[in-house]
């Protein structure tokens, strides 16, 4: 092919979305912070001064050291230590990593299930549609936390704590993923119903394309906008769900803490003066969720065609 058209690379940098980002400082800062958080999580093993899972590096005598600005701080521990003497900075990096992995993993599971069901439901219609949507209604009538609590508690009892500790991240991903697929299925179905009416779908059928090809190659790319928008909301939701479950003691065990379990573990020491064990991971969690939500807002404003993004 000729070289007269833009490469995908320059297309990306000249797209309305990228240009819009430059004129939207809140979104831009959010994106930068989110990118930094992702990098911190990805390179946690390189960035953390201590390995919080290596018991030889943990000394109980170092427990409850305050962060660097407070009195009695140990310079080796930037943000102090927790009740077991683990370096807060290191363990928060690993916690952030776990929270992000579980959040993204759960959303991936939701997307896979929800998008396929939504596509089939919307495209095939009729009885299949009714059946799948009633299933979604039933699923939605149970709260995510309720399902997760029942299921995780049962696994802990049946499988034992050691088994649970080993598979906790996968269990959390699967359970949060399974509990929230209807959100995707409903959104995708609604988009598919709208797209199905458009003539390019008729044109595709007239070209002799099969239903799977039409769904995946023609309708799905046209529904991506709404999938993106709902994904940002769902990532925040999934991270919160994981944090809540861990806080309740049903998520990540304290030996491999996520941000939620860190908050929970420090909760007992909050009023005895060691406020940082709870507050610092909580702050990190709040920043993470806030940033994801702000990005989601901006994405919704820029992608939804009926919505003119405010110039700002």
């Amino acid at each position: 092919m000729s070289n007269s058209y833009l490469s995908p690379y320059s297309r990306f940098f000249q797209s309305d979305l990228t240009i819009g980002l430059r004129h939207h400082p809140v979104a831009f800062v959010s994106l930068v912070i989110f990118a930094i958080l992702c990098l911190l999580a990805a390179f946690a093993p390189l960035l953390a001064p201590f390995d919080p899972f290596d018991t030889t590096q943990i000394d109980i005598l170092n427990s409850e050291r305050p962060p660097f600005w407070a009195e009695g701080a140990e310079p080796a521990f930037l943000f102090g230590t927790d009740d077991q003497g683990r370096d807060m900075w290191s363990i928060m990096l690993y916690g952030l990593r776990l929270s992000l992995i579980i959040g993204l993993g759960a959303v991936l599971v939701q997307t896979l299930i929800g998008v396929s069901i939504g596509l089939i439901s919307g495209y095939v219609g009729g009885r299949v549609d009714s059946l799948l949507m009633r299933l979604a209604d039933i699923q939605l009538s149970f709260s995510t936390l309720m399902i997760a609590i029942v299921f995780l508690a049962l696994t802990q009892v049946v499988g034992g704590r050691a088994f649970f500790a080993q598979y906790a991240p996968f269990l959390l991903i699967v359970i949060i993923g399974l509990a929230e697929w209807p959100q995707y299925a409903r959104t995708v179905r609604a988009t598919v119903l709208a797209e199905k009416q458009k003539e390019y779908v008729d044109a595709a059928r007239i070209m002799g394309f099969g239903p799977v090809r039409i769904m995946v190659r023609h309708i799905l790319p046209n529904s991506l906008a709404s999938i993106f928008v709902i994904s940002t909301i769902q990532i925040a939701n999934a991270i919160i769900a994981e944090a809540s479950l861990s806080f309740l003691g049903l998520g990540m065990p304290i030996a491999y803490p996520s941000l939620g379990s860190l908050i929970a573990s420090g909760f007992d020491y909050l009023f005895s003066g060691s406020w940082w064990i709870t507050t610092l991971p909580a702050l990190l969690l709040v920043v993470l969720i806030l940033v994801v939500n702000l990005l989601g807002d901006w994405l919704r404003d820029s992608i939804a065609p009926q919505h003119v993004p405010e110039a700002g």
Partner: protein
């Protein structure tokens, strides 16, 4: 053998008030390379007839009775897999609005290559080569660079050319064009029609042109079929039908053309509206709007009768012809 032979086609739509008949007892034939126009006002069943030929009616529409023999195969009886082999490959369709017919998120190249690869075993570069050739055939400048462009980067006329190129991609035997120029402005319209005519004649492709524009029919087609309320009221050689319309409805349509009116005088129109398919009048469906309606017309539905080169479904025409025969 005719390329396409439609026999007693009946299309119905299921609804809360019972099934209504959208296409009633339509029969016609099309030879290879022949060009047929289907005219009528909105709701006459033209587009439905087009979709029925592909056996691609959306629910609640369905083919109730009749045969659509394409190259000897009955499209009504074929299964989905066999139909897919014919659709796009041997029978292609061009839609009214080029703005919405192309998939907005795929490039022109992707859409053309996908169509080719869905029907033929080709490598990517072979498919691209054919795509470029076809784009050149429809007079698109710099076809190589168009492959990487998205539909929104092209003008309406260009898009309709691309759609025609896609329709021609697999060298079909028949193209069904459903109001191909309605969404375009007049100058582009003329270009596209000329292109369509040229391509059909050069490749010996049959064309079914669905339109409400008699001018377009005159330009492009050899035979014409006038539809009213789901029925064929008159059919014959285009020149005969346009120059010497027999059926009062066809006469009305032709005298309603703006060219038939002197400047400064109001445009002529056929009084009244097409009846709702839910409550078709008894007898001839056109009789409430017909100036020549007799008591017989309100009772009995006329059937198509052939006179020389045209067939007409009208009691009055029938009577006049019989009187002349007696004299």
């Amino acid at each position: 053998m005719a390329l396409l032979s439609v026999q007693n086609l009946n299309v119905k739509f299921g609804g809360p008030f019972g099934a209504i008949t959208a296409v009633n007892n339509v029969s016609f034939e099309l030879q290879k390379g022949e060009r047929l126009g289907i005219v009528g006002e909105s709701g006459a069943g033209k587009s439905i007839t087009g979709f029925a030929m592909m056996n691609l009616l959306n629910a609640p529409g369905f083919i109730d009775r009749g045969k659509v023999l394409f190259d000897g195969q009955d499209m009504v009886r074929l299964n989905e897999r066999q139909l897919r082999k014919i659709r796009g490959n041997r029978m292609a369709m061009i839609f009214q609005d080029p703005l919405v017919t192309l998939n907005p998120v795929l490039t022109i190249g992707q859409q053309m290559v996908e169509t080719l690869m869905a029907h033929r075993r080709l490598r990517q570069d072979e498919a691209e080569f054919i795509a470029i050739q076809k784009l050149r055939e429809v007079y698109i400048s710099a076809p190589e660079s168009r492959l990487g462009q998205y539909p929104h980067e092209l003008s309406g006329g260009m898009r309709q050319r691309v759609i025609i190129a896609i329709a021609l991609l697999l060298d079909p035997d028949l193209i069904i064009a459903d109001e191909p120029t309605t969404a375009l402005d007049v100058t582009t319209q003329a270009d596209i029609l000329e292109l369509l005519l040229h391509l059909c004649m050069a490749n010996n492709v049959g064309l079914i042109l669905i339109t409400h524009d008699l001018g377009v029919v005159c330009q492009l087609t050899e035979r014409v079929m006038v539809m009213y309320a789901g029925e064929v009221v008159e059919t014959g050689k285009t020149r005969e039908v346009i120059n010497d319309p027999q059926h009062p409805y066809t006469q009305g349509l032709i005298s309603a053309l703006p060219q038939q009116t002197l400047p400064g005088t109001p445009l002529k129109s056929i009084a009244g509206y097409m009846p709702s398919l839910l409550s078709l009048p008894e007898g001839c469906p056109f009789h409430p709007r017909c100036a020549y309606a007799s008591p017989e017309c309100t009772r009995e539905r006329p059937s198509l009768v052939q006179y020389r080169d045209a067939s007409v479904a009208c009691h009055e025409v029938n009577r006049l012809h019989q009187e002349t025969l007696v004299e």
